[in-house]
Symmetry: D2
Subunit: 392 residues, 4 copies
């Protein structure tokens, strides 16, 4: 497969492993499709479940070889590190509480990590990972996939270009409705662990989706939140974690913002939306209609900038696969994260220097920031809604 | 004109006066069109300006008789009260600081009052008006026009019916962009007084439009805010009042909400929007597209309920003029306030008893609540964003 | 009321009569609201019904004096013409078959006419009216109200300016759903006469709404259809007139278009919509969301031009009452027709010369063209869908 | 890779070849991503270009082995048929005129075919292919990808269930704007061959996109068009094929419809849209916002049925990858065609019987029908817009 010695030939696909993502999982399949779409990876090993029988069954159903299927991620890390054809990178798609131990195991085995969010359940864990990453020099990506949407990149480029002037107001929201009833009481797998502090961490809704909203706001504006105040609510009786947070954000430079994340908002499937207003213009983007960016230069009509169409700039073009009007969506943006990571991994494999920051994929630094956001929101909520500084 | 003695005949139109609304004004013309639309009023007198020459010129241009044109509202109140054909009600459409003295003058002359919002610049003034109203038994309406939109009435009816279950989350916003630059520096009349504390009161954006958003949220949900926390910002350099407020709301019964009002949000002309989420469903309404109410019963597809169309209930039908798909808008809702007030005035004129609350037009009580909202937001903002109780 | 002798004073309101529009009517109330909104008319007389008792009852309910209420429009024309304070203009809002005789009666009495559409049931009648109008020099307006929407005026201005280049394609449609079942069988008044050839004329849906679509397309493009081919269908069993027409249009200059009108299209309340495409740009307008015009210069992002907002030009501003984002709708556009007619009537009353064409209200010429459109569509349909020339 | 002997194991991927799709191509990359997404195929061979050097370069860039790269599709068919690991299926993504000879070559070599549309440039060619397919028993799929959208499947299911009653009116359109100027004059590859009769066939716009619209209308309604009348226009000077067609459709059973396809409609990127109206309800779907289906039961509010959300039935669920609100788009629908074909190919490989029709992927029969649609439209246009029967 692949013949990298030929000039102009495609480099061999990156050998990828996966931890989590067995039967009944949601996000594991997403990672696999995302890894496949642009053909930079081949999945060759997995610890898809901690239950051996289920791990084997899940792996065979994916076409993996039985000798590359594990039920213990530590064993997998060691075994794969020892193979000449062992995995080069691992995708960690378990419930949150296993992110840190799994990531540590693979980093220590010299294997690059692509980890779902929130990257850990505590900032202490994230800082420990950071130390390991710095020591090892390995790559650590976090799949804040929404920031890879082409029109989000367009938005960021517009802000950077100064088209919006000085940013004044940021409105970001992420409403869903799937937890409006106590779904966890039915043993539905996704609801079960997401509402369990032991597996999800201190944040419920704020961790599951609030972190995406937060990352998106900082990514597009290029501004950092320095303090926040949160109303943290649990509306569904018996639930152990928050299911709605309403947060005031103070950004460095003086911008003010509001972040709302909810999993009890009937009518919203996955309503991530961002609006940014500056002294010279405003913009609006909605994840459920990701192909259009609304941009209003102050005093002019609103423009609808379409992905792959007139008005889309270089940053958007770079992550565009199909012509305008041929909708790219969730998987495509997710695939962009994988493909940008692949560019970095190819370069490392070949010893090429590369400005990884220019690739725009989120890293452990974003992951750490997300965990700190969760912790700060929870702390503000516990204090009855008080201003709390967000550590840098 | 009109011959009320005939059975079945239309009652004679209500004789209306106006204070403010002369040349260059915006809202005065709106009140006049609103009063005319359903044919319950005839404008016969005015103190349209404090400048005699302008008052005369403005009145003649409206077809008023010269002897019914005044430049002093106190003189007008006395003169009209003394005429056999004097006005029965007055519309007060001046800058905010004149609402209280003008209203007092007409109330003391026995004339009903229809007043623009915010009803006064301080709650003390509003309380004084309240005492006068109670003493006199006169009617006092406040033109929170947006709550008269048919689909807002529909929303309120849905909430009341229990279709949404227990209300959990309220999201209301009112962004505009017309003050994104220091328009007041150009002597533009509307910007000039609205950014002047002496004429506008303690609130800028929060008073001008935030009060509408607040009233709408309470009107539709039937819930009262008991405390709030506000970020009060002035983004345009040199401006003396707020131009952006972001407010967390705590409602009686446990609902949590966010209110955002801004006049510096490029891309928004008049973006009042309300969303309400309960344990059994959610709804969304946008003022700029007022004909549709989105209603989602939990676990079912979103329904688009159209004014005058399938799904619209009695409360909406009652304030509907044209069939579905023949858009009613801003003036129609404003006219509904005038027409509901007219029903009350006809009844009083004829000595009929009437459940005025069922008419739904906003009263001085709403006006007082709006002023307290402004004061509480400003107090929270001055305290650096702290929780402050909102007096009942 | 009014004191026209004062300099700068508003001219006295135009004395208006009405034929049709009694109890149970729809469009009569619309005409009355439209006439009132901008305060140029006062309704003083009516033949609101041919049934004397109903005519009286309807008139009293409107506040008209009993001696100005008639049950015979011819008697009304003569009586009013004989009074010193007689009506100056009449609004004809009966079922279609009475338009011609009523209009003739008032024209012959020297009274200006404002007539609903289609102006007559045959082109012969319309030509006869035209002869009378030319002989009398009186004004004859036809209420194709949709062409008075501000954003329709904007569209026309854009086309005229050359912004779209050479027009190539026109897509216009007008779907409704209120006749998807045999409503006429229930004696619903609106359905009853509209599906009756004796009162509606040769066209059902094509006459009731197709004419609006046709007029809108020619008004905005400034191009005339020279021939057409129509599929004329009656889908509801037992119905006597068409309820769906699909028409190919050939415009002078080479543009090609499609017109679809239907009253059996579930999901559409009043879905008039126009799209125009030229060599340099395209535009789209939807009546149910009339405040926005989508304009796409070829090779640039689509712009959303809002009424009363950035990008709206002089033609739109001229017919704008409220600031952008304060929705004007159906009644406002209808009122614009009345107000433009009023400008012409004031000028005629005062002997001033005025370029009436610049006022843009539709006239008998538009009405005649609409009737010919109906006749040509019906002829094409009867021929099994063949090309038929549309007389100029 | 793959170990089909294990019970529960994923079957080995289908070995796929490709004809066309080399450097500078558009649709080839789409087919490759679509084939990869659900992991049922592995691309192992290609005749990506007729130019040997380009064929090699394109193949290496895709990671193909040099000995599986060809510049002659006939040589490829023979060589691959002779290999034990030869391709099982071929994707044909050349300009239209090569579809038929390429497909014949592979069918004759015993290789299944997945072909882009229009399947051939003449119906004679399509009939010849049909004979070969029938003789060989091989599978022949045509990538009318839009009919694989989940909400299109939902629409079809709704129609089939009788929810719309008897279908009366069909409105389908497919406007684009990328050929509004003579792009072919610039040697842009996509424009060049699509406007060249020698490579594109008798239809320009009607073949390129009109066929998609036609197939979508028949697929969703389950009705066949029996005759049509077309206005066929070429608006761009010098262009050799049509760039705009407006077509009246007569369906078996009495439904009437309009189809508009245009590549000169500024403001439209890829605006395929379908609306269907029946005696009991209506529905609307837009390809650029593919996640929502609007469904209106007559006399009830419109429902917004979301993919992966409440109201989506079995047919939609079957082709759904991600939860509602995580947008699937163009590539996902395209991938569904590939995956449905894969189910059929697996069954054939394993000798299992399978109801291929239930899989819903378009076949040569759809392809033939598309070519006949093109020919009939062109014939009607040449006759000046006359009714022409569409062969079954």
């Amino acid at each position: 497969m692949g013949s990298s010695s030929e000039p102009g030939a495609k480099p061999p696909r990156i050998r990828l492993g996966m931890v989590g993502g067995g039967e009944g999982a949601f996000i594991g399949a997403v990672h696999r499709m995302a890894a496949r779409l642009d053909d930079h990876y081949t999945l060759v090993a997995g610890a898809l479940s901690a239950t051996p029988e289920k791990a084997l069954r899940s792996g065979l159903a994916l076409g993996l070889a039985p000798d590359r299927l594990y039920s213990d991620f530590r064993a997998m890390a060691q075994a794969e590190a020892a193979r000449p054809d062992g995995i080069e990178a691992v995708a960690i798609v378990t419930p949150n509480h296993l992110h840190a131990p799994a990531a540590q195991a693979f980093l220590e085995a010299g294997i690059h990590v692509i980890c779902d969010k929130p990257v850990t359940t505590t900032s202490a864990e994230a800082l420990a990972l950071q130390a390991t990453v710095e020591r090892s020099g390995l790559l650590f990506a976090v799949t804040h996939n929404y920031s890879a949407n082409a029109m989000v990149r367009q938005a960021r480029e517009l802000v950077r270009s100064g088209a919006l002037g000085e940013i004044r107001v940021v409105q970001v929201e992420y409403p869903q409705d799937w937890l409006a009833e106590p779904l966890e009481a039915t043993a539905q797998k996704q609801a079960d662990w997401r509402t369990d502090p032991a597996r999800s961490g201190a944040g419920g809704c704020v961790g599951d989706i609030g972190t995406h909203a937060f990352q998106l706001a900082e990514f597009v504006t290029g501004l950092q939140v320095h303090s926040l105040l949160a109303e943290v609510s649990t509306f569904v009786p018996g639930r152990r974690l928050d299911d709605d947070v309403q947060v005031l954000l103070r950004f460095a430079g003086g911008a003010r913002g509001t972040l709302w994340a909810s999993q009890v908002a009937p009518g919203h499937r996955n309503g991530l939306a961002l609006r940014v207003y500056g002294s010279r213009g405003g913009l609006a983007w909605r994840q459920e209609q990701p192909e259009d960016l609304l941009y209003t230069p102050l005093g002019e009509p609103t423009r609808v900038i379409g992905r792959g169409a007139a008005g889309a700039g270089a940053a958007a073009q770079q992550v565009t696969r199909t012509p305008g009007g041929h909708p790219e969506g969730y998987l495509e943006a997710f695939a962009t994260v994988y493909s940008e990571v692949a560019q970095a991994l190819y370069a490392r494999r070949e010893g090429r220097r590369l400005d990884e920051a220019a690739l725009n994929f989120p890293t452990l630094a974003d992951g750490l920031r997300g965990v700190r956001f969760i912790e700060t929101v929870v702390a503000s909520g516990r204090a009855g809604g008080q201003w709390v500084a967000l550590p840098r």
